[in-house]
């Protein structure tokens, strides 16, 4: 296993507000890594800084050796990083088909549009039935499938999932985590940010605990699940 994504000493924020302080993190090829922590810890900022939606104030990000910070935001996806943003952010008044099409916008992905579509339909047969439906009119779970499907259309190596269980009914949350397992099984590397600590520790290999913009703990999923601080603060035991 070699390092795929490497963040070194990242400081980031919005205007004068700093959300991340000296965050270092790495994801190896084939791994599933979780970032857990409370609301407002900077988890979403971390995702946005990796996919280029905001630029770090300091620090470096490398994807398979390529400097992500020096890459224009719209070219980061062609490095193999696909980001499923918080709240899904589908195009609500475009059909499911058009949303998936947007995921394959990059010239490199357009060439494989048909194969990628087949791959997404295999993972989410439901989307095939809903192709001509407006994305905004689907249920939360279906929208999450569509958002993940859209990200997979670019044929990524690394999938960034930001709070995939947010705003979903408990039954659907279970389904979403099942999906994450299946995506992993298809060979993708996954970095997932979640407040739902108990669930996420079951699907990831390793996890980082992010609190108030800093990494407070790191370790294997089992280690973190067994640690007293996490038990008391997040697992309610």
């Amino acid at each position: 296993m070699n390092g795929m994504l490497e963040l070194k000493s990242i400081d980031a924020g919005y205007g004068s507000f700093q959300a991340l302080f000296d965050v270092s993190l790495d994801v190896r090829a084939g791994e599933a890594v979780g970032v857990i922590g409370p609301n407002g810890a900077g988890k979403t900022t971390l995702m946005r800084v990796i996919s280029g939606l905001i630029r770090p104030i300091r620090g470096s990000i490398a994807m398979e050796g390529t400097d992500v910070v020096a890459t224009p935001p719209h070219r980061i996806v062609s490095l193999g990083i696909a980001h499923v943003p918080e709240n899904r952010r589908l195009f609500p008044r475009l059909t499911v088909a058009d949303n998936l099409k947007m995921g394959a916008f990059m010239p490199g992905a357009r060439a494989h549009y048909a194969e990628r579509l087949e791959f997404v339909f295999e993972l989410f047969p439901r989307l095939k039935e809903r192709l001509q439906q407006m994305a905004g009119t689907m249920s939360g779970g279906e929208q999450q499938m569509c958002a993940i499907g859209r990200a997979l259309m670019s044929n990524p190596k690394l999938l960034l999932l930001d709070e995939p269980s947010a705003g979903l009914a408990p039954v659907v949350v279970q389904q979403v985590f099942e999906l994450v397992k299946r995506i992993r099984a298809s060979g993708l590397t996954v970095l997932i940010v979640e407040q739902n600590v108990q669930q996420v520790l079951r699907v990831v290999d390793r996890a980082y605990l992010l609190e108030a913009g800093s990494i407070r703990a790191a370790g294997s999923a089992a280690e973190l699940a067994a640690s007293d601080t996490i038990k008391q603060a997040y697992l309610g035991v």
Binding site: H74, V77, R89, L94, K101, M102, A104, F105, A109, R110
Partner: protein, 293 residues
């Protein structure tokens, strides 16, 4: 009495059909403006002046350089498309994050620049292509070929834009960017490029409108005033940025102008149309097909 009604009905039918023919060109103009507004979120106050420049382009290519009409038209469409892209690049792009009023004033400034430029460069004479198309007589009704041709070309232009927006990756991105600007980089889309393409298409539609309007109207530096305001009213009535609303509103306006002109003078048709607009603004301030939020 009976024979009087018969004649009246013929005129009524003629006016209705002429209204539909006028509506096609107005819908074309409205689509260009709506596209720019819906995608880039700016209003090109100078839109009709781009049409005016295109009409001069047709005049010079056909009358001075003696190109046939069908060869001059694609050149003019290309010219105005480039003008639209240049307008975006030099005026809009630096002001994208500026308050809307500044963008409005800037494109308003371009309006006066283009009008003054045309006055200095081309003079204030009324000019035309010197092409007089025949009139089609259907029973007792008369339709000018210029209008029929314009209507057909406007429809073809709109169908082309529709196919581009729905069938291509770039077209899909143009529709998507209007719904969520911030996440476009995650799709691998460079918003700057999409804005430039959209501006070129908006300009191209103005160029096509110029090729069609120059068949029916003389060109002079202030000809933009004849259809600029009405295009804005159509877009506002249809709901700014709403393509289908703009399409419907164009035909509503065209019918009011055409039928109003039948019952009295043509100018009264315009008065009626503007009065209708004011009343509608009280009833449906967000436009005919306003989205319920």
């Amino acid at each position: 009495m009976q024979s009087f009604l018969d004649i009246f009905d013929i005129y009524l039918l003629e006016a209705v059909i002429n209204g539909i023919l006028l509506g096609g060109v107005l819908a074309l103009l409205a689509l260009g403006l709506n596209l720019i507004f819906g995608v880039i979120d700016v209003t090109w106050i100078c839109y009709a002046e781009l049409v005016m420049i295109g009409m001069y382009g047709m005049y010079y290519l056909v009358q001075v350089f003696h190109l046939p009409y069908w060869a001059a038209a694609p050149l003019v469409i290309l010219l105005v498309a480039l003008l639209g892209a240049a307008l975006h690049f030099f005026v809009i792009a630096p002001l994208l994050t500026a308050p809307p009023i500044n963008q409005l004033l800037a494109t308003g400034g371009v309006l006066f620049i283009l009008q003054s430029f045309a006055t200095v460069a081309f003079g204030i004479d009324f000019r035309n292509l010197g092409i007089r198309l025949p009139v089609l007589a259907l029973g007792e009704m008369n339709f000018s070929y210029a209008r029929l041709l314009s209507f057909a070309a406007a429809l073809i232009g709109m169908v082309c834009v529709y196919l581009f927006l729905t069938r291509t990756f770039t077209g899909t991105a143009i529709r998507a960017i209007a719904q969520d600007r911030q996440i476009m980089p995650l799709m691998g889309v460079d918003p700057k490029r999409i804005y430039l393409v959209t501006s070129a298409i908006g300009g191209g539609l103005a160029g096509l409108a110029a090729c069609l309007l120059v068949l029916q109207y003389d060109v002079h530096p202030f000809v933009g005033l004849s259809f600029g305001p009405i295009t804005f009213l159509i877009c506002v009535l249809g709901g700014l940025g709403n393509f289908i609303g703009g399409f419907i509103a164009a035909f509503v306006f065209a019918e009011i102008i055409s039928l109003g002109g039948l019952f009295s003078d043509l100018e009264w048709g315009y008065v009626l149309a503007f009065a209708f607009f004011i009343v509608m603004m009280f009833i449906r301030p967000a436009g005919l097909l306003a989205r319920r939020s």
